[in-house]
């Protein structure tokens, strides 16, 4: 691992499965013997607000469930503009960003009061604040695989593909099989591998 603690933020919109995604990643890293702290905000999260989970990964000790400003090493955004919101608050010029490309429009956008940026505009904004950005068509790919819910698994795979923290395929399989019936495992493994292939070089 490049840094200790290594700090990951998984962000998205309430209802997207942010909490589950963070727990899967956290459990994978705990299997590797790390101290993992996950801090999350939920409650209002069911109802379409911005949500994020802070993952602190360390060989040494337990870290705070809230990360200090400027300390995020990796941001995984299940919803595109959330990457920018979180990056501005917790990022630094070295932060890596993986972002889904499928928007969940805020009510302000739905009603026409606010404007949602194009992916090019978003990319330009992100580039002013960090250097490594991966846009992943996770929701589209998940729909092709058969269920939009798989987008989170694809995003987790994409994070694993970066190879910055040891997120092993076998650990993913172990963790998922605790809660998933065998017939659903195949498609989830496929999603993970697909995501991984999208960021690993």
């Amino acid at each position: 691992m490049l840094k200790d603690p290594y700090n990951i933020i998984i962000t998205g919109v309430g209802g997207q499965g942010n909490v589950m995604a963070a727990r899967i990643v956290g459990n994978m890293l705990a299997l590797q013997g790390f101290y993992v702290t996950i801090g999350e905000t939920f409650g209002a999260s069911q109802r379409g607000g911005s949500v994020m989970s802070h993952l602190r990964v360390s060989k040494k000790t337990v870290w705070s469930p809230q990360m200090p400003k400027g300390k995020a090493d990796l941001i995984v955004a299940l919803e595109p503009i959330e990457s920018l919101r979180v990056l501005a608050q917790y990022g630094n010029s070295e932060t890596a960003v993986i972002s889904n490309t499928r928007p969940v429009y805020p009510v302000g956008v739905i009603c026409g009061d606010l404007k949602y940026p194009t992916m090019d505009e978003l990319n330009a904004s992100l580039l002013q604040l960090c250097s490594k950005i991966y846009f992943i068509d996770a929701t589209e790919k998940a729909i092709q695989l058969g269920n939009p819910i798989l987008s989170n698994v694809i995003m987790i795979g994409a994070a694993a593909g970066l190879n910055v923290v040891p997120m092993e395929e076998s650990d993913f399989e172990k963790i998922m099989s605790v809660s998933l019936p065998p017939e659903k495992m195949k498609i989830n493994m496929e999603g993970f591998k697909l995501g991984k292939s999208m960021t690993s070089s």
């Binding site: 101290y35 801090g39 999350e40 337990v62 705070s64 990360m67 200090p68 959330e82 990056l87 026409g112």
Partner: protein, 645 residues
């Protein structure tokens, strides 16, 4: 995976609430009760899931006070018991808690309040710590995930030592955070509950459990507290990290101890700053605190909301003649804010100010750029009801009827998903929100102001769980005094906001057993209100009824709007309709409706297609409730029933 499945001695990633639940089972808890409330709910849920296997009785009670009484019965009958609630629940339970502290308990009894500093999912920043002091009960606070499991176990022992309730306080950032936890072993215990009462009045273990004679019992309670203070002096849950004679000593507890350690680490102050983390916070272990205060020049209290450790320490310090003058920082000199939750950055800011250090997490221009870019590039995300939520439809009808009526009518509410009726999501219909059930009490008062000349109509709203929790007495009041107002019950068949816990209106209990489902309609009728029922998804029918009830009704009226929550197990993932917009009929921006559906109704499943200038359904988000079909004046939104296969 249940909390029983973790192998003895294994290390697992557990949520704070799971750790608390597992700790309770390891301690041999047999009775657990509570009322749902974020961030506390998962504790009872995890216990309920293993109730059969572990031989527990687990209950979601009608409200917090009753849950504490139910748990107390367990203790009185010789079984270890636990009661769980969110911070403001302690206010509800406090009357019984006052008396319970005085009477004392028998088998170990633990109260777990989960506070929510910053009101992340609350409508208040209430604090349970102060109740421990007010009601003279021992208070302990886990500072990390391992302590969450270990301290619960210790709390039961402590409770049995002093035969009184022990309060174990958690906060959102522990309850709803996860960390590595080494679990212990699960006990076997199947004691038969027996309530002994034959002893004399003063016999704590065999006599009646009463608070009289009050001065005697009260003195006894205070003696117990003194004994606890002695035990606290040497508790392993009070830890110190730092140099022997720090320039500055942080005194802290709970999640704030993690923020403090993080701040010291970020600023690389480990040679200058020490952190005294107290696990036992009331009564204060004064000798221990004195020893550490004496070793430092400056003291900083890091705690959330109101001063607690700071006040206790300063009161104790008044008698520390041999300690010398210290400079204290905390709430009173505004080093630490008295509202909102803390985080490492706030502690960093306090330390840099006190110690005169310069620190920037990122260069100044990065921060500026970030603020501007996220402001302009990431449109704000206001919370809204879920797609397909019955509340959107309900508020839509209430809003329309009150507007049509034009008499300045308004809605009084309380706590639940429907609280966001204050916002655009509920068409800004809600005008008061306070504690559980208070909307009706307030409306009952407004209704009587008619006699003093008030013209506006007052409408109260509440959820089905709230109805049982605290609406019933207010309805009795309104009917008794013939208040001119209306109650709307949003009956969405479960405690939706906190994750569908059962309540007295549901047919199964926390453990999945069949129980008596009480009928809200019959209760309201029995109380003597004029009662009606409607389906909020039937927009026209509901609005007709509402208009008639508000315009022509007299005295206390009740309308029960029945429609399950969009996330309820019966509905989730099962769309009733496939929706689409007929683009040839959609009038869009150009005439007439002025994008009625997306501008005003604003279900997240319905989005505006900028390129084509028409509305469209986002099929990933729409839950197919079919409601929007009825609000489009052009009939452009079409639904097709999904055939069950």
């Amino acid at each position: 995976m249940s909390i029983l499945d973790y192998k003895d001695g294994s290390v697992n990633l557990l949520m704070g609430n799971e750790a608390i639940a597992r700790g309770a089972v390891e301690a041999g808890v047999r009775v657990a009760a509570g009322y749902p409330g974020t961030p506390s709910s998962e504790i009872i849920e995890n216990l309920a899931a293993v109730a059969g296997k572990a031989g527990l009785y687990v209950e979601w009670s009608v409200n917090e006070k009753v849950s504490l009484e139910v748990a107390a019965a367990g203790s009185f009958a010789g079984l270890r018991s636990m009661c769980v609630m969110k911070q403001n629940g302690v206010n509800v339970a406090s009357d019984f808690l006052l008396h319970l502290g005085l009477s004392g308990t028998r088998a170990g009894m633990v109260l777990v309040p989960c506070d929510d500093p910053g009101a992340i999912s609350s409508v208040n920043e209430g604090e349970s710590r102060h109740f421990a002091r007010l009601l003279e009960l021992p208070l302990i606070e886990p500072g990390n995930f391992q302590e969450a499991i270990d301290m619960i176990k210790w709390a039961f022992e402590l409770s049995e030592k002093i035969r009184n309730v022990v309060v174990v306080r958690s906060v959102t950032r522990l309850s709803h955070a996860s960390g590595n936890v080494k679990v212990g072993t699960l006990p076997k215990n199947n004691d038969t509950p027996v309530f002994k009462y034959d002893g004399n009045l003063l016999d704590a273990l065999n006599g009646p459990v009463i608070t009289a004679p009050v001065p005697f019992k009260h003195r006894q309670q205070q003696e117990k507290l003194k004994a606890v203070a002695e035990i606290f002096e040497t508790s392993e849950f009070n830890t110190y990290t730092g140099p022997e004679n720090p320039e500055l000593l942080i005194i802290t507890s709970s999640a704030c101890s993690l923020y403090s350690l993080e701040a010291v680490n970020v600023l690389e102050l480990d040679k200058r700053v020490g952190v005294l983390k107290l696990g036992t916070t009331y009564p204060l272990p004064e000798k221990l605190v004195k020893k550490h205060v004496a070793s430092a020049k400056k003291i900083l209290f890091v705690e959330e909301v109101q001063p607690f450790l700071e006040d206790l320490t300063k009161i104790a310090a008044a008698a520390w003649e041999d300690v010398g003058v210290k400079k204290y920082h905390g709430k009173y000199d505004a080093s630490i804010p008295t509202v909102n939750e803390l985080n490492p950055d706030i502690v960093i800011a306090a330390l840099t100010k006190i110690l005169g250090i310069d620190y920037r997490p990122v260069p100044e221009d990065y921060e500026k750029k970030g603020t501007i870019l996220s402001f302009t590039g990431a449109p704000n995300r206001e919370v809204t009801f879920c797609p397909g939520c019955p509340h959107r439809a309900s508020f839509w009808s209430i809003h329309n009827v009150l507007t049509l009526q034009g008499k300045g009518g308004f809605v009084c509410g309380d706590i639940g998903c429907y609280t966001i009726g204050i916002l655009g999501a509920g068409f800004n219909t809600l005008k008061t929100t306070h504690s559980m059930g208070s909307g009706l009490g307030i409306a009952s008062g407004f209704g009587k102001l008619r006699g003093l000349g008030m013209k506006q109509d007052a409408v109260a709203v509440c959820g089905d769980s709230t109805f049982f929790h605290s609406i019933i007495p207010a309805l009795v009041n309104a009917v008794h005094v013939k208040s001119d107002m209306m109650l709307i019950v949003f009956d969405n068949k479960g405690t939706a906001m906190t994750g569908f816990q059962p309540h007295p209106g549901t047919e199964t209990d926390a453990m999945g057993a069949k129980v008596n489902a009480l009928n809200i309609e019959s209760i309201c009728r029995a109380i003597g209100a004029d009662v009606h029922v409607s389906d909020p998804f039937d927009i026209t029918g509901t609005q007709d009824k509402l208009f008639d009830l508000i315009e022509n009704g007299k005295g206390p009226r009740v309308l029960i709007m029945q429609q399950s929550c969009a996330l309820s197990p019966e509905k989730k993932g099962k769309n009733k309709y496939v929706m689409n917009v007929d683009e040839s009929l959609c009038r869009g921006e150009n005439c007439g409706c002025d994008r009625f559906c997306t501008k005003i109704f604003r279900c997240p499943g319905l989005v505006w297609n900028r390129d084509k200038s028409v509305s469209m359904i986002d099929s990933v988000i729409c839950t197919g409730c079919g409601v929007c079909k009825n609000i489009c004046p052009a009939g452009a939104i079409k639904s097709e029933e999904v055939k069950a296969c």
